[in-house]
Amino acid sequence: MSVHKVRDFINEAPNYKYQMILKDSEKVKNAAGRWVPKNVNGEAQTPYKGIAKHKPKTAKFGPRGVSCADYPDDGNKLLASLREALVKAGLKDGMTISTHHHFRNGDYLANQIFDIAHDLGVKNLIWFPSASFPCHEHLIQYLKDGTIHHIEGSMNGPLGRFTSEGKMKGLGVLRSHGGRYQAVQDGEVQIDIAVIGAGCADSFGNANGLSGPSSTGLLGFALADSQYAEKVIVVTDNMVPFPCYPWQIQGNYVDYTVQVDKLGDPEKIISGTTEITKSPDRLFLAELTARFCEHAGIIKEGFSFQSGAGGTSLAVGEFFRKIMKEKGIKARFARGGSNKYLVSMLEEGLVEYILDGQTFDLEGVRSMAENSRHISTSPFTSYNYHGKGNFASLVDVVILGATEIDVNFNANVVTHSDGYLLHGMGGWQNCLFSKTVILPVPLFRDRIPVIVDEVTTLCGPGELIDVVVTERGIAINPGRKDLIKAVKGSGLPIMTIEELQDKAEKICGKPEKPKLEEDIVAVIKWVDGTLLDSVRKVKQ
């Protein structure tokens, strides 16, 4: 079998729609009790075996060998345009093209790449982004006309809807940030062309996200791509003379460099999620979460935490700050997306280090550039499960979100209760390895209860999820006897997850199960590359 099994598979039958209605013999029930396909886009799969059960048996993937003889002596790899770079990189049918979400909803690059591919008449590409955003709705036309065969990455908003309705030619593959690194490292995904947008770069290809109109702080999501892709193109709107330092991306991995006018819309690169919620209900939830951590003894001298970029998570951080100040406690490090709130904790000395995987606002960018204790990390250091350890498991407490949680503490972050795929996983799965995992969620959203009998899509096994905090009660995983004991007598509203479910259903009514078809439209990978679950087509 060729190294590019998937490419061959879809090129052999360019107009063939991957047969998604699988016979029983083509599906298998995995260790989580979920039915997953034996084959995805022509490639054999390993079903999920349980936490820490699957280990790679083969060597890591290596890209083709190269020689300096084929690269300019003066180090100048600058080409006139992105189009020229893609053509020189050998863009052709069935290739896997990777991009990164550092520019978030302000990204111009991914759309431009596929505009060019479409213009060149290239078909059946696999798009391998580290995440997608609503701005990528532009690509739906190319999913329809066959320029893009399928997406491996995340399918947010409009792309998720498109996928859920069974309109994508291939099966979508959803991975966590760590799972993406693992898949590249293990050769599950072989990137033909990686296009790395950078806030700052030199013509040799050294690049970082620390300055320029499209600065993003760091470029960690592109690390694996630079190391393992066949061809690497660095694109910037802020070209500086050699050397561009620090080289978050090393030019020695880079084939071509390109200068463009604008990589993205700076206002949208810095996403709107970095403001603390003003919703009194969410603030209440955040405060309750922080109080839980306080009573559970998690907030103590030298502890570490990670809290996401959503409004509620940001607010949890602020309540941590309050408690830490009152008690004179310092954290050794905070992991995560940085933002102005976390930066101010660093600068006030409440946090000694920020280990940053994604910079969410300009304060984060500034701090990273100025402060040696604000450290750029990557999915390799933080999340990759096929490494010799990773940082995520060192974190004392992580605060995450979920669309649904079931009575066995299994959680879903990608689909809604109506079955629609609307979110990516980000680092969510990887963060579940933290010492304590807390999900603050509303008991119900509008009329939709968050606690369900069984999650629509399994993204995280319940064994790894410790606490569910809602505004009307807190449920602790029965496996965490230490936590149950720690908060006894605290006055916190501790109850069982079934009681929480019951409360919600008394208010909202018992929901019917979403109407889903047998067809599989996407699969969920676990951090070790095995198949954790399938996403089914929504009945319309």
Binding site: L283, F284, R447, P514
Partner: protein, 406 residues
């Protein structure tokens, strides 16, 4: 012919961008063809079937056999949908019947005269999304407001929503309050709230005891009709120069009056001055109201602080309010509750004093004395009750340990 066509255009409820947990309904009565339900719901896959069933139930209840109902739903809870539907149906057909959702067991608790009323949170009576989690924030009281926060064209439908909310919205132990409209339309609100375990009715722009008497008459009439006798407390709101002058008369006009509040926006407008942050212009009104309340043995309650972003300003205002003699304050945002509580919670000196009173009472009881005294001062029974409340609260707050006779 013109009239039925107009009715087809009647729309109740809210739907559109930014509207959550609500729905909008309209209906055309038909002469044949049965019931046709055109449902567009955000939660269709989970609750579509049950919503359709519920709509059929309420239509059948009101004996509507042929109609086309259109409903746009952004995740409204059942009691909201039913309120919208009942408002709609009753604008098409006359009926004395009421389609009442069950009174949930959580809402059957009672209030009492002496309870603390440090904070009370206003909830617009026609906005379900703001009601759903309000109890979580634990104000002293939750007010479903039919007055200023409901626009005139929504007053009719808001009554149904408030009634259903009284039955189905979990008030989570807070005092269950409704602010009715000003006289005389406020009297018509009563049929929707009395007999649904409303604990306290706020009476806006109260200007004299005759209004209270009228109100009490209507409340009694409604209770008799339903053969029910739940106590309904009253909190008149003084919002005019005349009201201030009549404060004491109002305060003693009914034994059900447990507190009296001042509304400074309307009051300052009435006397023709601007409301300032230090409140010099209303000092007379406030102190007069406080004095009237103290003389009548009820709680004086301050107006709301309207800048929801200014927590420090709020804290200063509460301190001043308390130093004048107020025993509570209104809130228009849940985040104000905590600040108000922190400032109104009893200090250790007050807790100590309360403990001495309770102890003196216990001793008098043991000694078989009919009169309680502390030092040379005689103590009335209500004062003992209040002291006991202060101790209970101090225990809840962790300020006091209930260890026998401390």
């Amino acid at each position: 012919m013109a009239k039925p066509i107009e009715k087809d255009k009647l729309i109740f409820g809210n739907y559109g961008p930014g509207v959550r947990s609500d729905c909008q309904v309209s209906m055309g009565l038909l002469t044949k063809g049965g019931l046709e339900i055109d449902l567009n719901s955000k939660v269709n896959s989970m609750y579509g079937k049950s919503i359709r069933e519920m709509l059929r139930d309420i239509l059948v209840f009101f004996e509507i056999k042929n109609a086309r109902v259109t409903i746009q739903d952004s995740g409204a809870l059942p009691f909201v949908i039913l309120a919208r539907m009942e408002a709609l149906i009753k604008s098409h057909v006359k009926s004395e019947k009421e389609f009442l959702p069950d009174m949930i067991a959580e809402n059957l608790y009672k209030s009492e005269n002496e309870r603390f009323r440090f904070s009370r949170l206003y909830l617009p009576g026609n906005s379900p999304s703001l009601m759903l989690n309000a109890g979580v924030h634990q104000p002293g009281g939750l007010i479903l407001d039919l007055e200023d926060s409901v626009s005139p064209e929504k007053k009719y439908e808001a009554r149904f929503l408030v009634r259903n909310a009284l039955r189905q919205l979990d008030f989570m132990g807070t005092e269950r309050m409704v602010r009715i409209n000003q006289f005389p339309s406020g009297l018509k609100d009563l049929a929707f709230i009395v007999n649904h375990n409303v604990h306290l009715i706020l009476v806006p722009k109260c200007e004299g005891p005759e209004q209270i008497i009228q109100l009490e008459d209507e409340i009694s009439r409604l209770k008799e009709l339903a053969v029910k006798d739940d106590t309904v407390f009253l909190m008149p709101i003084i919002e005019s120069a005349l009201g201030v002058e009549k404060a004491f008369e109002i305060a003693v006009s009914s034994t059900n009056i447990v507190a009296m509040a001042i509304g400074l926006e309307d009051y300052t407008a009435d006397i023709g001055v601007r409301r300032t942050s230090n409140g010099d212009e209303s000092l007379y009104a406030r102190t007069r109201l406080i004095n009237a309340c103290k003389a009548a043995g009820i709680q004086p309650i301050d107006s709301v602080f309207s800048d929801v972003g200014d927590m420090e300003g709020l804290r200063q205002a509460v301190r001043k309010s308390r130093s004048l003699g107020f025993e509570g304050m209104g809130c228009i945002h849940p985040r104000q509750i905590q600040v108000i509580h922190e400032e109104f919670y009893p200090g250790m000196d007050e807790v100590d004093k309360a403990a001495r009173i309770v102890k003196a009472f216990q001793k008098a009881k043991e000694d078989g004395l009919g009169v309680v005294s502390l030092g040379t001062k005689m103590i009335d029974a209500p004062v003992v009750k209040r002291a006991q409340k202060t101790i209970d609260l101090a225990v809840d707050l962790g300020l006091w340990q209930r260890s026998g006779d401390k």
